[in-house]
């Protein structure tokens, strides 16, 4: 009864709150007013239902999620136990290889975009998920990669293969260049500075016509070649698709190894407690810089591929919105979790493509889910589980001595 009353009040409050924006629309030119009373009904019913869900989730959260954590979940079994991991990986690989031959070119293209976001997500995951550095200007390094291929190709005719490592290097270079001054800053300031830096890069690309051809961008970027052979357009798409698959596999491999290394541990430790971390003899700046530069390297590399894929780039592809999308992939997937990030990238990029009606609401849902995730499930769809080590062997060996 108390809940019902509360929910009615919440519903009324939101009806009031959304009234001017949701119900009224004025056309100032024609001097007409459009009243959309249906929206009011939607809001009323919607918030009423939502308040019940909210209350339920809150209660569940307060009861403690510990039970959940102790259970070994399906994804953990899938990724750690060889018995399941190898067949699963093989199956995914087979599907990945067959996929482009059974779908339309359009589908391949959207799949490439999704894969691009997978790699971007995994790259940012190193920075945000592992090292805990909130980078809101990640897209700037993506732009660095894309423009380095576009410009080097345009002015000097450099090939895709020459530019791929160059783009990665330039990404890393800019990562270090920006990282050295800003990584001293506390978490929230770092977020703002990186955001500012990302915007500066975009604004420069937009305004410095002599250098970047301004808002109109650069067109006719060459397709990649295959061992010196020109590839047809449709072949090119297929080629980029396989290239992206390879890059995703490579990225997973690298991130996985890094995660369980000396460096990876120091990133996580740094995220947990900077002061304790320094007291353990870890050089804060070097460690942060390594994470920042690695993240930027991946962004630079994917940038090159992006430019090759679209064969046209302009500054509009590198707005803050892109950074926000990549960030929400990391957040929703689960900070630090590889599988989570991959799943989130597929869901967030492919779903709006499949459900056209839904695509309009894409950013609205991104934003809302970032808030809800933080409130109810900060660990993401798939929580990153710290690796446990086996020691029984060691112990027994010692006892035997």
């Amino acid at each position: 009864m108390k809940n019902l009353k509360q929910s009615i009040l919440i519903s009324l409050w939101f009806i009031f709150l959304t009234f001017p924006l949701m119900v009224i629309r004025v056309n100032t030119v024609e001097q007409e007013v459009e009243w959309r009373w249906m929206n009011m009904a939607f809001i009323g019913v919607g918030t009423f239902v939502c308040s019940y869900i909210w209350r339920y989730l809150m209660a569940r959260k307060e009861k403690g999620g510990n039970e959940e954590e102790s259970k070994i979940s399906w994804h953990q079994t899938l990724t750690t136990e060889k018995k399941y991991a190898i067949p699963a990986a093989a199956l995914i690989l087979v599907i990945a290889f067959i996929f482009p031959h059974i779908v339309t070119e359009y589908r391949i293209n959207t799949m490439i975009s999704a894969l691009i976001y997978v790699v971007l997500g995994l790259g940012l995951n190193i920075v945000v998920g592992l090292a805990g550095l909130l980078d809101l200007g990640y897209v700037a390094f993506y732009a660095v990669g894309a423009y380095s291929y576009a410009l080097l190709n345009h002015h000097f005719g450099l090939s895709f293969w020459a530019c791929l490592p160059l783009g990665a290097l330039l990404g890393a270079f800019f990562g270090i260049l920006l990282g050295i001054p800003v990584l001293r800053l506390r978490g929230d300031y770092l977020a703002i500075v990186t955001l500012g830096f990302g915007e500066i890069i975009r604004l420069i690309l937009e305004n410095w016509n002599e250098f970047s051809f301004g808002p109109s961008g650069i067109a006719n970027i060459s397709n990649p070649t295959f061992f010196g052979q020109e590839i047809s357009r449709s072949g090119g798409i297929l080629f980029i698709y396989y290239l992206m698959i390879a890059l995703v596999i490579f990225t997973i491999f690298v991130v996985n190894r890094l995660q369980n290394s000396r460096l990876g541990r120091s990133w996580v430790a740094l995220r947990e407690d900077e002061i304790a971390c320094q007291a353990m003899g870890i050089d804060r700046m070097k460690t942060k810089l390594a994470a920042f530069a690695l993240g930027a390297t991946w962004a630079g590399m994917v940038g090159v591929i992006f430019a090759a894929k679209t064969s046209f780039i302009n500054p509009a592809s590198f707005t803050f919105l892109e950074s926000a999308i990549i960030l929400s992939i990391v957040v929703l997937g689960g900070m630090g979790s590889i599988l989570g990030v991959i799943l989130a990238a597929f869901v967030l990029i492919l779903l709006p493509e499949e459900l056209r009606a839904f695509s309009e609401y894409r950013m609205l849902i991104f934003g809302a889910s970032m808030v809800l995730m933080m409130v109810f499930r900060p660990q993401g769809i798939i929580a990153n589980v710290r690796r446990s080590y086996e020691y029984h062997g060691l112990d027994r060996a010692e006892e035997a001595k």
């Binding site: 709150l17 604004l203 970032m370």
Partner: protein, 300 residues
């Protein structure tokens, strides 16, 4: 010289608007140490609400100051309500969470609100009626300083005075200052900290709405995206002055306003936003505590 004055006064106007928004950032940061990314969106929502109300009233045949006053009041009420609700949904459940969580939540809220307005209204620029009347006594100076600019500067100054009074001399202001110093201690002293935080959000949102209505009326058009840039610039101003400090926010805003005004006037107008962002980056790198802020030593 006249050009200089024009830029100076233009900077003053800009700075006033930034100050109205920056205060919200600084007050919220002072109490819960959170960069409220959604604050710029409140400013935008304030402007949209005012636009809708003003259009309805104009169509109903009202005009002049009454329209301005009424739409301002409604915008203020709604901005306050939004600020209050946002805090309850996106930040309050995260009081105990790691620092990064509320920040991400705030970014999510900002994206959500932008797209909410985009979907509920339009993605186009909407013409905003110039609600501020032209004063006849300003006519001789109109080419350097318009009536609407005068109103902006005056309203800002009055708002600052009222705010200073609220914080310095009322019981609520005292509670706010106490909560900013030490939240736990304030709670132990019997202050309802949750209510203080809500109040802070409401006051900040109110000021942002005032800024939103004034600038929209001055420039003459709005869209769903105006909050983002304005928000970041106001945040820059708050950091410039020393985040958490109220006079600092005003000072920082004026400095930023003048920097932008003179830089676009004398250097190049293409890079208008670059100046602000560069200033932000430089400040954070070289003097993160800002002009009036104090460097805090971390407790170990």
């Amino acid at each position: 010289m006249e050009y200089f004055f024009e830029l100076f006064l233009g900077g003053l106007t800009r700075g006033s608007i930034y100050a109205l928004i920056a205060l919200g950032y600084t007050m919220v940061y002072g109490i819960i140490e959170l960069i409220n990314f959604a604050h710029g969106e409140i400013y935008m929502i304030g402007a949209f609400t005012a636009l809708i109300v003003a259009s309805l009233l104009t169509m109903a045949g009202m005009d002049g100051m009454a329209v301005l006053a009424l739409s301002m009041v409604v915008a203020i009420i709604y901005a306050g309500a939004y600020g209050f609700t946002i805090e309850k949904i996106a930040y309050k459940p995260l009081r105990q969470a790691p620092r990064l969580s509320p920040l991400i939540s705030a970014i999510g809220m900002s994206i959500f609100l932008q797209n909410y307005v985009l979907l509920a209204q339009t993605s186009d620029f909407l013409p905003f009626p110039s609600l501020i009347p032209e004063f006849s006594f300003m006519e001789p100076y109109e080419h350097v300083f318009s009536s609407s600019e005068l109103v902006i500067v005056v309203v800002t100054a009055v708002s600052m005075l009222v705010l200073t009074y609220l914080i310095k001399f009322t019981k609520m202001g005292k509670a706010m200052r106490a909560s900013a110093q030490d939240r736990t201690m304030a709670m132990l002293a019997g202050i309802n900290v949750n209510r203080i935080i809500s109040t802070t959000f409401i006051i900040g949102s109110t000021l942002a709405a005032v800024g939103g209505v004034l600038i929209a009326s001055h420039i003459g058009q709005i869209n769903f995206y105006i909050g983002f840039i304005a928000g970041i610039k106001a945040f820059t101003a708050a950091v410039l002055g020393g985040i958490g400090s109220i006079p600092g926010a005003v000072l920082g805003s004026l400095v930023l306003g003048w920097t932008e005004s003179f830089a676009t006037g004398y250097v190049s107008s293409d890079y208008e936003d670059v100046f602000a962002f560069t200033l932000l980056v430089l400040i954070l790198i070289f003097r993160p505590a800002g002009i009036l802020g104090k460097t805090k030593t971390q407790k170990v």
